[in-house]
């Protein structure tokens, strides 16, 4: 693609402080580099493709409108993940309020929804795993997904979530135990 620039964080930070055209080009490089990993991070939390796509779009719109407040104190990825995490948790809280009124979604509903979703390719066990993950508290689910699916390092997670590495490790192991208990109960 003509005019596509390679991802060089230092160069991008300089361009973000430049004029409007340079800033937009730099942001395009950021979007190209981070949209896919961010999408998967969000998708594992919200499960639906459409919801994940909406949250991803909102994440980048929010990042763009607040680009002046990003002064390069953290890495671009950390900053973007923080926005994505906040957007996702806000969405889940809103969804919980609606769902608790409407249907009272439980694990069986999640399995049924996933099995009828054209963009879910997993088998029954994988659908059950998603249902088990959905029983975890949001923060624990976030930690589990980041480690289990995205294979993110604890140090990076710590920067994004503002939680110590020790607490994150503990949170992940508790999540694993809860998931094992879930399968044990439903065996």
């Amino acid at each position: 693609m003509a005019g596509m620039m390679a991802y060089d964080e230092q160069r991008i930070l300089e361009m973000l402080r430049d004029d409007e055209v340079s800033r937009r080009r730099a942001f395009e490089a950021i979007v190209r580099n981070f949209s896919e990993p961010l999408y998967w991070q969000i998708r594992h939390m919200v499960l639906s493709h459409d919801d994940a796509n909406d949250i991803l779009q909102n994440t980048f719109v929010k990042a763009w409108t607040n680009i002046e407040s990003f002064m390069g104190y953290s890495r671009i990825s950390t900053w973007l993940y923080r926005i994505a995490v906040n957007e996702t948790l806000t969405f889940l809280n809103r969804q919980k309020m609606t769902v608790s009124i409407d249907t009272g979604a439980d694990e069986q509903n999640i399995c049924d929804t996933l099995e009828s979703d054209p963009y879910f390719d997993g088998d029954e066990t994988e659908a059950q795993l998603q249902a088990a993950i959905a029983t975890l508290p949001d923060k624990q689910r976030l930690v589990f997904n980041m480690k289990y699916f995205n294979e993110m390092k604890y140090e990076e997670m710590s920067d994004i979530l503002g939680t110590s590495v020790g607490a994150l490790k503990a949170s992940f192991h508790i999540a694993v135990r809860k998931i094992e208990d879930y399968f044990n109960r439903n065996d």
């Binding site: 409007e20 879910f120 289990y148 998931i179």
Partner: protein, 121 residues
Amino acid sequence: MEKERNILDKCAGREPFSVPDGYFAGLTDSIMSSLPQPENDNNAVVVTPWMRLRPYLYMAAAFAGMFFCLKWAAGLNTSNQTDVAQTQETTIYSDEYIDSFLETAMIDDYTLYYSFVDAAN
């Protein structure tokens, strides 16, 4: 417990979710086109001298209108009072006249009434 552990091991590294065909190929363009455009200076409204003056002129016109309304209402009030004055005949006595009359005259109410009637005539 071993079996449950195996489920996590079995599913590890596998992505159960998928996306519509070509989704990631068009994602950057889709996101970039959804970003708000910067303020375009060409679309900025040019402020003409007339636009600057207009609020003051409107304010002046409003005050002038209020002034003429008040003037008209005051004129209406004065002309009504004139009409009343013209239709009634009154005689005005000074306070001194009345005081001295009452102090010096040893008169009862009936005499006082006639005194006023005589004075009026």
